[in-house]
Subunit: 381 residues, 2 copies
């Protein structure tokens, strides 16, 4: 039997019980609202996690790479939104998925791109469903709702050969900048309004708009009004991380993913200790250092081996490739962290940390000291 | 025939010609100095790259993980320093390597750890060679040269059953903070002095010290005095990156690794464009944003598809998981970067960026538009 104590470090731990609770909570939030929950698999990249996230939902997912799309289609999931602006260079892989029967939907925010995709789709002999990408405040990709471009692009997608207008999509990535519940309510409502406004524009122009899709974990957790929406997309909620905790989207005790590491040295002269988890084991995301948050936990927050209890105010203050430097407020608790002790590091940003591993060591739901399984991830592109 | 133009994006490109020149330059620098070059494989993690780095050298390497040690031993390299503080928890894998004939050397900076390693080595029935880790200014691991602890630890390693004192080792990671050639000369000389001082202490106490090992790419490039050293360890020099360029350790035109990406959108309203390489394709290292450097290139510097020419002053200003936001000083050169155009992103910190991929697409030495090979990497632990 593999136990937590027998794992080599560093390694990526997934608490199966916490995952189930997180998934059930979000599924429960959308049950009966009329809004379909479409989990975003970019965080977990695992069919085993997807099955838990999809329990009680309609079965569609969101992905961030074509490799994810291909992997999940291989595992029988065939309603997939690829939520990164489509370019014709990617059409041959998209066409392969469509030809094998996947209901794959892309996104675009440009009429020029729609025309190029149309030409590529015709050449491949497939019909590509596309959502119009809208910018609801993140300032990444997307058209501005209410602008004439929305109807122009909608008409192009509707009329061009090889493309079909499936609806509209937006992502309130700006919710990550919220620092109060009022902010979160406002951003969630703006996200909704942007999507509904563009959907109304399309319908007023006689165009179809079956899908009105929004989502981010913070807005999915805090949104109060779903009028006019058909779908909610979110992914981080399955695992959670310290940053999501700091912006009030996830309980600290519900964070399901952590890195198991070993204390490999003491530096009393520096009031610090070293662990064998550095930039490669934790990633270099510094989201908890953003302005307005409660605490900068550096590159991760240090818990005991069972992940039940935080150790003092210890955090990973600095990372090298394979070393993490533990620091704390006040005197470093060397007695609680002898060399050889094992700790769990709660990640700042779980999407980045999980991506450093080829899979999860999954703790048993009933006995979190037992390792029940290994669930592989589909990394890369 | 696979060509650069036929690769899907994002992907990791290795310019074989540049790699060969970088490797030959460092090998040439140490030829005839009496100091053996022991390449650090933590950056490349590839046997194909190791073979090029080892050409003309004695054949030993440095590694940062036991997985690297096992992989390189599987490929016939058997003189290996594992340059992360050893803990007894890792002894079973170390013992397996030693029993199969590898000359594996660990490092430690603690007498308590030496005793624990001794007990584990005796239990495994192996003899473990250990170097005393010294702190030459990085403030990570290591004893202070000249302190009594050096001789105490040396005697412990010499006398304890199951351990053998192999020598001393230090790494001037603080060379990364240098901002002038004078700084670099000084740090390189300090690194040397620390190692030689501790070696002298051990010998004066009647202890052996066969190995006097130092190294970091900046000090390996700029060191002027090698008296008393036996080995130089460095790794980033094989590839180079923008940060190494900014601290005068690597030519911009010699950077051998880059990420091929596609422009997937324009945002004229934001004076920006999007590429399909984000935080996962580039990593989130921000080393070029460190104080005192010439230019903060964000998450990477944008070159044309052949990597011969920088495009304006374009850089990856912001990353999302799968999107990079290109920005520039002044008006964004949209005409040079139409949607669908392909660019090469020079990484800030190549150790982190390369680790996001399972291998390298290797360009032909003679024709850098042709992809000659795929070289896998050994990621993980």
């Amino acid at each position: 039997m593999t136990t937590l104590a027998s794992l080599e470090t560093p390694c990526l731990i997934l608490d199966g019980g916490r995952l189930e609770r997180n998934a059930a909570r979000m599924t429960g939030r959308y049950a009966g609202t009329g809004v379909k929950l479409r989990p975003h698999m970019k965080t977990a990249k695992s069919i085993d996690v997807a099955r838990i996230a999809l329990a009680g939902n309609f079965g569609g997912i969101t992905v961030s790479t074509l490799k994810e799309a291909e992997y999940f289609a291989d595992h029988g999931i065939d309603d997939i939104i690829y939520a990164v602006g489509l370019v014709p260079e990617k059409l041959s892989r998209i066409a392969r998925l469509i030809r094998r029967g996947a209901q794959l939907t892309g996104i675009t925010d440009s009429s020029a791109m729609a025309e190029a995709i149309s030409r590529a789709a015709v050449a491949e002999g497939v019909m590509v469903d596309l959502l119009i990408e809208l910018d609801s405040g993140e300032r990444r990709g997307g058209l501005i709702a209410g602008s004439a471009g929305v109807v122009d692009l909608g008409r192009a997608l509707h009329d061009l050969p090889g493309t079909r207008l499936a609806g509209v999509l937006t992502h309130a990535g700006n919710s990550y900048h919220c620092r109060s519940l009022e902010d979160l309510y406002r951003v969630a409502e703006e996200e909704r309004l942007v999507a509904v406004t563009a959907a109304d524009q399309l319908r007023a122009a006689g165009l179809p708009c079956a899908v009105v899709s929004v989502g981010s974990t913070p807005t999915a957790v805090h949104g109060q009004n779903f009028d006019g929406l058909t779908e909610m997309r979110c992914g981080v909620y399955m695992f959670g991380d310290v940053f999501q905790h700091e912006i009030a989207s996830h309980g600290l005790e519900d964070i399901a993913v952590s890195v198991l590491a070993t204390v490999i040295g003491h530096r009393p002269d520096l009031n610090a200790a070293l662990i064998d988890a550095g930039g490669l084991a934790l990633s270099k995301d510094r989201s908890t250092g953003a302005p307005g948050l409660a605490e900068d936990v550096g590159f991760g927050m240090i818990m005991d081996e069972t992940c039940a209890r935080r150790i003092g105010r210890v955090r990973v203050g600095h990372v090298y490739q394979e070393h993490g430097m533990l620091v704390s407020d006040g005197l470093f608790p060397f007695d609680d962290l002898p060399v050889g002790a094992r700790v769990r590091v709660l990640p700042n940003h779980v999407c980045m940390t999980a991506a450093m591993y080829d899979g999860y060591r999954v703790l048993d739901m009933d006995d979190p000291r037992r390792v029940a399984d290994f669930w592989p991830r589909v990394n890369g592109w």
